[in-house]
């Protein structure tokens, strides 16, 4: 196999495409976690987004409705999590796990009649430029609008958290809900919003899979990407820009293993597939050893239940 320039361009383009669901879901979860809520239901919300996006596309034949609908369905399902953890003060870990188990089951139930239906081609932007520029063409152009949005999202998230007043409110709520509450901030409301936003992004991430990346519905098609997205947030020490870098690394490993399989590379493919998980553990160990480093970015009250004393 020759490593010519056009191949490298296509390779990088495909790595970018495979990292999109990770970026979207992890950026959403990052905001949720920054507000002090640990939602382990990412996988469940993604798969619900995947089936509702695909079902709406088949039923309405309108990709815009499908995309918006998938985000809405993510919001609706995350509302269950929000209501339980924020209004009924349930344990975040257990509720999130229940959400994932429930979501996978429900998606298979809803998707029963959509198995085997071919998807629709999703419009790509600047497809003429893709062919005309040698290396950067396939990297920069010829992608779906969702991909461009995903790559802008970490920067927007970063700006939101660091430069806007609302971002400060989110961080305050995540670090010290009691002080935030004393400042007159409605902690529960802020956390609800962050949970629902996370749900919307996870829904979109799922829809990207079922509408754009592999346009069809397969049971359990998110295949653990939600868990990787969760790991990514920690991997990135809750920093949006590092989420982007981490997603590209993880996406890169996925693509690399496909190509290595194709060339008949010696390392068993399962070891390459295990790399993202092992790397996350290693990063966790490295960042957690230094308690200052982890304090700098970790939402201090992550996963702790907050209630306002009346």
């Amino acid at each position: 196999m020759s490593l010519d320039i056009s191949f490298i361009g296509i390779l990088i383009g495909s790595i970018m495409a495979s990292s999109v669901p990770l970026i979207l879901a992890a950026s959403g979860e990052l905001i949720t976690e920054r507000s002090g809520v640990l939602n382990l239901g990412v996988e469940g919300m993604m798969i619900i987004g995947a089936i509702s996006g695909f079902a709406l596309m088949v039923l309405t034949d309108n990709l815009f409705i499908a995309i918006v609908g998938s985000m809405l369905s993510g919001v609706i399902i995350s509302l269950i999590f929000g209501f339980l953890t924020q209004s009924l003060l349930t344990n975040h870990v257990a509720t999130g796990l229940a959400l994932t188990i429930f979501g996978i089951g429900l998606s298979a139930m809803l998707g029963k009649n959509f198995v085997g239906i071919p998807g629709k081609e999703f419009p790509i932007l600047f497809s003429s430029l893709r062919e005309s520029i040698p290396l950067f063409g396939p990297i920069l152009f010829g992608h779906s609008i969702v991909l461009y949005f995903a790559f802008a999202l970490p920067f927007l998230t970063n700006y939101f958290l660091k430069k806007t007043k609302l971002g400060l409110v989110v961080r305050a709520v995540g670090d010290s809900p009691v002080s935030a509450s004393n400042q007159g901030i409605n902690v529960i409301l802020v956390r609800y919003c962050c949970i629902l936003y996370g749900g919307a992004m996870c829904g979109l991430a799922g829809a990207y899979l079922s509408l754009i990346y592999t346009p069809q519905w397969i049971e359990n098609m998110t295949a653990g990407r939600g868990w990787i997205a969760l790991a990514l947030v920690v991997f990135a020490t809750w920093s949006p820009i590092k989420v982007l870098i981490g997603a590209l690394i993880f996406g890169g490993i996925t693509i690399l293993q496909l190509h290595m399989q194709a060339i008949g590379f010696r390392i068993p493919v399962q070891f390459l597939s295990a790399l993202p998980y092992l790397m996350t553990i290693i990063v966790l160990v490295v960042i957690s050893r230094d308690s200052r480093k982890i304090k700098l970015n970790t939402p201090t009250s992550l996963g702790r239940i907050f209630y306002k004393e009346k």
């Binding site: 382990l40 257990a94 229940a98 429930f102 996978i104 298979a108 139930m109 068993p268 295990a274 553990i281």
Partner: protein, 348 residues
């Protein structure tokens, strides 16, 4: 306190009602669908044996998890510990694939328990010495162990006479759990689960270790003031929990399966988390909860055959049970909150 053990029943009733509603929305007769789900599977002796067969691993794992959860250690990677236990136990069974002997099965079982234990020690050691989050580490390891199993059954351990199917040789009869009744799949592994229940009850309620575990769960600060060795305790509860999950894995491969292949567990390790909660982390509660949750597995299979509903619906029920259980805890929490507020008042 009575309410504490009563709310799981409320959760189960609400789940059945919720399930009926979902069936109705999907266009099935809810009464008939629920009958296929919860009554048909256990209406004969074979079905009842299948129920116990599925409840066995769930009960074992949940018993182990109760040690972790009671002491505030969030081991959610039991599925990985089950898989790794099955790999180690299965490896031993494969060593003896052409031999018979009374000593083989005990060796396989012990190997499985040790395998699960070692795998659970990874998040425990990382938590105690590197301060890492055990939720994420134990979870990541689930995928690592499943990929390792996949590699082994496709590659080095695949059956040489197996036409490249992703599975190992069949274990010899000496590596198989003895069946309890002719024609039924229920096997001696159920005694392992019952022994685990008894032992865990004894350890949790009658020993100093159990006391330490409970105190640490209620208040880490108190445990520190009392001078409990926090690190050792974390390692111990993870080891107990991993060993139980490993036993469950070995019970599956030496019981109904009889070899290693990719699908040795339909996510028992994750579902057991629900079982542990539904059983209120109480050994006898867990027996009851494992039977209820095992029924959702069986019901899903029956419903798939008779109503052509994907068997993933079992997960809808499992998720709903946990949702309703957690929600009904609000009643309890509210009571606790009022008491706590009164106690805390002088501090403000």
């Amino acid at each position: 306190m009575a309410l504490y053990f009563f709310t799981p029943f409320i959760a189960i009733i609400l789940t059945i009602l919720g399930g009926g509603m979902i069936f109705y929305i999907l266009g099935f007769n809810p009464i008939e669908a629920l009958k296929f789900y919860f009554i048909t599977p256990i209406s004969n002796l074979y079905g009842f044996s299948e129920l116990l067969l599925k409840a066995t691993p769930l009960c074992l794992i949940a018993i182990g998890l109760s040690f972790c959860f009671k002491s505030n250690n969030w081991n959610i990677g039991a599925e990985g510990q089950l898989t790794f236990g099955a790999i180690v136990g299965g490896g031993v069974a494969l060593l003896f694939y052409n031999q018979e002997g009374f000593y083989i099965l005990p060796l396989v079982i012990i190997a499985g328990a040790i395998g699960g234990m070692i795998f659970a020690l990874i998040p425990a050691i990382l938590k105690t010495y590197f301060n890492t989050n055990e939720i994420l580490v134990s979870l990541m390891l689930v995928y690592v162990s499943k990929l390792l199993l996949d590699y082994l059954v496709v590659g080095p351990w695949s059956n040489p006479e197996g036409f490249n199917f992703p599975e190992t040789r069949q274990f010899s009869d000496s590596s198989r759990m003895p069946l309890l009744f002719e024609g039924l799949r229920i096997h001696a592994g159920i005694f392992l689960a019952l022994a685990a229940v008894m032992l865990s009850w004894f350890v949790l309620y009658k020993t100093y270790l159990g006391f330490q575990i409970k105190v640490s769960g209620l208040s880490l600060k108190t445990a520190k003031y009392a001078g409990f060795k926090g690190k050792t305790m974390i390692l111990v509860v993870f080891m107990i929990s991993g060993a139980c999950a490993g036993l469950a894995g070995v019970g599956e491969i030496t019981g109904p399966i009889g070899q290693l292949h990719r699908m040795i567990s339909p996510d028992y390790g994750f579902t057991a988390i629900i079982v542990a909660f539904l059983g209120r982390l109480n050994p006898f509660g867990i027996i009851f909860a494992s039977l209820v949750v095992a029924l959702t597995y069986l019901g899903a299979e029956t419903a798939q055959i008779f109503l052509q509903i994907p068997k993933y619906t079992g997960q809808v029920f499992q998720g709903m049970i946990l949702f309703f259980l957690l929600a009904s805890d609000y009643l309890l929490f509210f009571k606790v909150k009022i008491l706590n507020l009164k106690k805390n008042e002088p501090r403000h």
